[in-house]
């Protein structure tokens, strides 16, 4: 799976205003609403579901990266977005470090394989330190989009 298979480019944010975990999740989910990828009426339910998942254990996986996610019956296809916080956000990460790079995923309840393949793609690409660093330094959504496209075309694609 490639980034372009699930990242809604219109919902990419290069400098989120949110300073807390819940606020950034809401900001990113709102970006998905504005991009027409999830329904406005589902926003609160999706944010709540993602926070409920975070309560089970942070999705801050280290290296300043978090992958908040949930299943939700309102989506028929995996959808996600990317945001960068230059100030960093406390995400209760596994390594305790603040998070600057966030991938948010909403998947249909009956497609666990797609969710796994999105995680696989994200984690495989993020093992590249330069890619990770450049994403965190991005100042415009288009810059993030180009980095993701470059990773899609140069990286190993499964």
């Amino acid at each position: 799976m490639k980034f372009s298979d699930f990242v809604a480019v219109d919902a990419i944010r290069s400098d989120v205003e949110a300073a807390t975990k819940e606020a950034v999740i809401r900001e990113m989910a709102t970006a998905l609403v504005d991009a027409g990828r999830i329904g406005a009426g589902d926003l609160d339910g999706i944010v709540r579901a993602i926070m409920k998942r975070e309560d089970l254990g942070s999705t801050g996986i280290g290296r300043g990266v978090a992958v908040p996610h949930t299943k939700h019956p309102s989506v028929t296809k995996l959808v996600g977005t990317v945001a960068v916080s230059h100030d960093g956000i406390d995400f209760d990460s596994l390594d305790g470090d603040p998070v600057q790079l966030i991938f948010l995923l909403v998947s249909p309840p009956d497609r666990p394989g797609d969710h796994l393949r999105a995680l696989e793609n994200i984690s495989r690409q993020l093992r590249d330190d330069a890619f990770c660093r450049e994403l965190k330094a991005a100042r415009a959504p288009a810059e993030i989009q180009h980095l993701l496209e470059a990773a899609d075309s140069h990286g190993f694609v499964s």
Binding site: K52, K71, L116, L119, R127
Partner: protein, 109 residues
């Protein structure tokens, strides 16, 4: 102490496969031991102490995973990691269940 290599194969019993939470549990357990822990699946061999590495395997429900441990505490490490697989990483695992306790459709409707 003598370096030894031990390995065992497991079947992933969780309905959602080896997703982020079990990958985190596996890497955490692996890091508790001095031995090198490798996870082998889908023709790939990765460092079991790295959550990013484990997630790149994208192991689906029902797939096989081999754990290979090399080092002074290899046997204990393999037993501990094997225990995670044996109890399905504390997940329900049945198809259709909210496998890792994530909110079900009913919770979020």
């Amino acid at each position: 102490m003598v370096e030894q290599t031990v390995s065992r194969e497991f079947v992933v019993g969780m309905a959602k496969g080896l997703h982020l939470r079990p990958a985190d549990m596996l890497a955490r357990e692996a890091r508790r031991w001095r031995s090198r822990v490798e996870v082998i699946a889908n023709s790939q061999r990765v460092d079991g102490k790295s959550i990013l590495d484990v997630m790149t395997l994208a192991v689906e429900a029902g797939a096989r995973v081999a754990i290979e441990v090399t080092g002074p505490d290899a046997g204990q490490a393999l037993d501990a990691i094997g225990g995670l697989f044996e109890r399905n990483f504390d997940e329900m695992g049945g198809a259709g269940e909210p496998a890792d306790g994530e909110p079900s459709a009913a919770d979020t409707a």
